[in-house]
Symmetry: C2
Subunit: 530 residues, 2 copies
């Protein structure tokens, strides 16, 4: 990525240093600064530096759980959450960090968090994390899922996928590991992650009971949550809205329950004929999460898994319950976001956001896609980028990516990149549509470079400079072609941009008077290839 370098903008104190990717441009075009998620670069053997270490220490609201060197936890019943500070009117260094990142006032950031409209998922045990804010008033964020499975992949591979995902712009990463070495994989991921890490603790809890959902219990789950909170997980998906009476609503669907967590909890509820233990123990769970500042991602265990099942009774019954749980979590100063679907045809997308915002009191919405059709396995990064862009425009705060391998297999490195890029496109398209301040500057800089045939600037400003350059060079590889005032699509005679540029000069000189001159000069509105 030539001509892109990392720069830091300092805040009110020297250790608030916010990274940007600065793109140098040719001529008198000012450099453009882009939001940058790649982190300071990590040596996997060592992990990242503890950027937030001093900030956490200064607040003096946490202490080691079991003596020196053990994980931090809120001390003396304190709730060291960003929500608690925001409600108390405090602008933390973390809030200032994201304010600089987003180009907004720190007080605005604080107020959005205080109102529950935005979250700052930052576990006190993840000091390596660069703060990122998730809320409808901010840039739309993208999550990438990684993780080992029972069938395949290794710890080293997953850390590499993490680094790879953040390089391409993932704002958060979820570790969905389900196979062996779950704890070890997660430890490696958290220590090397400059972005918030999310998990679904029920997966590990299920491993602990030998894979039988019926053997799950609140105690096993609770201990798993504490284990993960001590490691530094920033947000956790909890399927506390899959209630016993809702399960029959999903039975006659075309695709039933497609959330793993949702199906596990449904199986438990039915086998015991008892209410979901995540729901009945929700207040105790809030107390735990508050101690580490773990953010809730209230899971949509009954989300639709096909176009046919979108926006049905099962889905919306659960959503109402998630709204109820949101209020309870807020009582404990715990930050909350709400997960959403899944598979939704375009004309039913807006209703999802409208109801979620209404029923869940404007807590940030975090959706998987949605896929807008089911007919294109192998291309679900595209079927869902369409839905993701739209749902982002309507107010969704974070989009969980879908890779080309969705429904077919586990994503490899190329799939992770394809998924992240498709979702960065969707998120940015939504930022433009929402009129986020500054979003269009990126488009304008690239469009201007395109019109002025500054090929190197076009590449460097691209979401994926390497691929843009490679595609250009595939047709016109020669170096002069990168300064040519045309490209391979139209060739020199037909280049509309070239013609317009000459019209522009012509217009500048006064159109009427110069008509004759233009013609006598041979009416050259193009330059032949030298």
């Amino acid at each position: 990525m030539q001509a892109r370098r990392k720069v830091y903008v300092e805040g009110s104190r020297p250790d608030v240093r916010v990274p940007f990717a600065e793109v140098e441009l040719a001529g008198d075009n000012p450099p453009l600064r882009l939001y940058d998620t790649s982190g300071p670069g990590s040596d996997p053997e060592v992990g990242l530096p503890a950027l937030r270490g001093p900030w956490i220490a200064e607040r003096a609201d946490v202490a080691p759980a079991r003596g020196a060197g053990t994980p931090l936890v809120g001390r003396d019943g304190r709730r060291p959450t960003q929500l608690a500070y925001a409600r108390a009117g405090v602008v933390t260094p973390e809030m200032e960090f994201v304010a600089i990142r987003e180009g907004l006032a720190p007080e605005f950031v604080r107020d959005e968090i205080a109102a529950g409209r935005a979250v700052l998922p930052l576990n006190v045990n993840h000091p390596e994390c660069e703060p990122a804010i998730i809320g409808k008033a901010f840039l739309v964020k993208v999550n990438a899922n990684i993780g080992t499975s029972a069938v395949t992949s290794s710890v080293a591979e997953e850390v590499e996928k993490l680094t790879w995902a953040t390089r391409w712009g993932a704002d958060t990463v979820m570790d969905l590991s389900t196979g062996k070495r779950i704890h070890e994989t997660r430890e490696a991921i958290v220590r090397n992650s400059p972005v918030p890490i999310g998990t679904v603790p029920i997966y590990q809890a299920l491993e602990k009971v030998g894979g039988d959902p019926v053997k799950l219990s609140w105690e096993v789950f609770r201990d798993t949550v504490i284990e993960q909170a001590e490691q530094g997980v920033d947000y956790m998906t909890v399927h506390a809205g899959v209630l016993l009476p809702y399960v029959p609503l999903a039975v006659d669907r075309v695709t039933g329950i497609v959330s793993r967590g949702g199906s596990i909890m449904a199986a438990w509820c039915l086998a015991h004929h008892e209410e979901n233990f995540l729901y009945t123990n929700f207040r105790e769970l809030c107390e735990i999460l508050a101690r580490y500042d773990v953010t809730f991602s209230l899971g949509d265990g009954l989300r639709p898994g096909s176009i046919a099942d979108a926006n049905d009774e099962a889905q919306f019954a659960e959503l109402r319950t998630l709204g109820e749980l949101t209020r309870i979590a807020w009582e404990y100063d715990v930050q909350v976001m709400i997960e959403g679907p899944g598979h939704v045809p375009m004309h039913k997308i807006k209703e999802n956001v409208d109801l979620q915002q209404e029923w869940c009191h404007e807590a940030p919405f975090y959706t998987l896609g949605p896929l807008t059709t089911d007919i294109a396995p192998a291309y679900d990064h595209i079927t869902s980028a369409i839905g993701a862009a739209m749902i982002g425009m309507f107010g969704t705060a974070m989009l969980c990516y879908v890779t080309p391998k969705e429904h077919l297999g586990l994503p490899d490195r190329d799939d992770v990149k394809a998924g992240v890029i498709a979702y960065k496109i969707a998120a940015h398209a939504a930022d433009l549509a929402k009129g986020h301040p500054g979003a269009q500057a990126w488009d304008d800089a690239l469009s201007k470079a395109r019109f002025e045939f500054r090929w190197e600037d076009q590449f460097n400003l691209s979401l994926d400079p390497e691929t843009a350059r490679a595609y250009h060079d595939a047709t016109l590889p020669a170096e002069p072609a990168k300064t040519a005032h045309f490209c391979s699509m139209c060739g020199p005679k037909f280049c509309s941009m070239k013609i317009t540029q000459e019209l522009k000069e012509y217009a500048a000189r006064g159109m009427r008077d110069k008509s004759a001159e233009f013609q006598s000069a041979g009416s050259r509105v193009y330059l032949p290839l030298a």
Copy 2:
């Protein structure tokens, strides 16, 4: 594509035989019939059979232009257009063909054509073409652009791209050749094309005057149109709305004029300081097109080329003029569609359709994308699939594809496929959102196959069966994995679909009573990998 075979549905006469791709499904699932654009298969040396030959001959409204064996043309001032027949209340075999293809009544097809809300681009000299209808009441169509350029590519390559594009679902193909051998390339394309072919005649006209727009004239253009109409081009882009007074409106844009045809006509207008000769000679042009049943695709020469320029005065001034020209073309029984942008942020997309429908009297809209952001060269099939799906939902009848090489180079075979697939996704997502009768049957069949772990059926129902199968096999290649009741994403323990299926059986037996039995059976909600 195993388990897919071409079947034909016969209409009211034995030579109306409409192709479908029939997908055989396992068990007692009925086969699914999909719209099929691939044609009967062509030997490039011979060309395709003249499906429409008898229909054209029976109407006795055309005659060879210059004696036996020369191209057909309306005889004795007759206008052999589908619009003329529809207005006269006649259901042609072509109309019946598309009615069967779309699952709608022939009279409905006729009435939509008669009202100008749909077009059936079918030159009397392209008897090889399988009729396809373009209008908002029908399935959203996809156009693929191919064509040689001054810089690269050959005739054989372009014919191969044509066949490749229709194999993946392109409903029409535009030949945008601009280099040498334009006539020969087009001849090969038309003779081998089972789908309507569009062109932009100004490109060839410009070649004829040595590439200097100022040397263009009505006479050169007219002769080029006749030459192409005699070859069988079904629709032609004509930039008759780029009027002299509109040109200055585009001068201060970020990206000026980005349409090749638009910039050529703008250059001509300014150099001569005269009104666009396509506009001043429009009625004569209508008379010519009527004689061959060539459909107008009124070009948007002033379409925006960047997010910054979307929905501006230049664009909408031209659109109003296209509405005026639509009325004139209809006086001559010439079918019309209207081209649209381009580059438009999501929140400005709907306005494009609304104004086009209002000002152009509901003539079908045919848009290029639009791209919803400019930051992702190399991924503009995705940036624009988002816009295409949305603009399709709002009522656009045909979507012109964009390939990953857009703005960077000429598309190769892989790019053509990537572009067509992305646009078939967008078109189908729009069909679902519009509630086209039958559209959702495809999604439901695939979703049901997914839920029931019918892997082979999933692959065969996919838009791209080969890639879906390859992605599956990349993680779990063994043959038993294709019948396994789980996949590589979650592995056997976490398979939500498997769990739901068991819940379903469980519910069917009565949930309350069976709780004990479920538990005593070991609470097996998954099957371990054999």
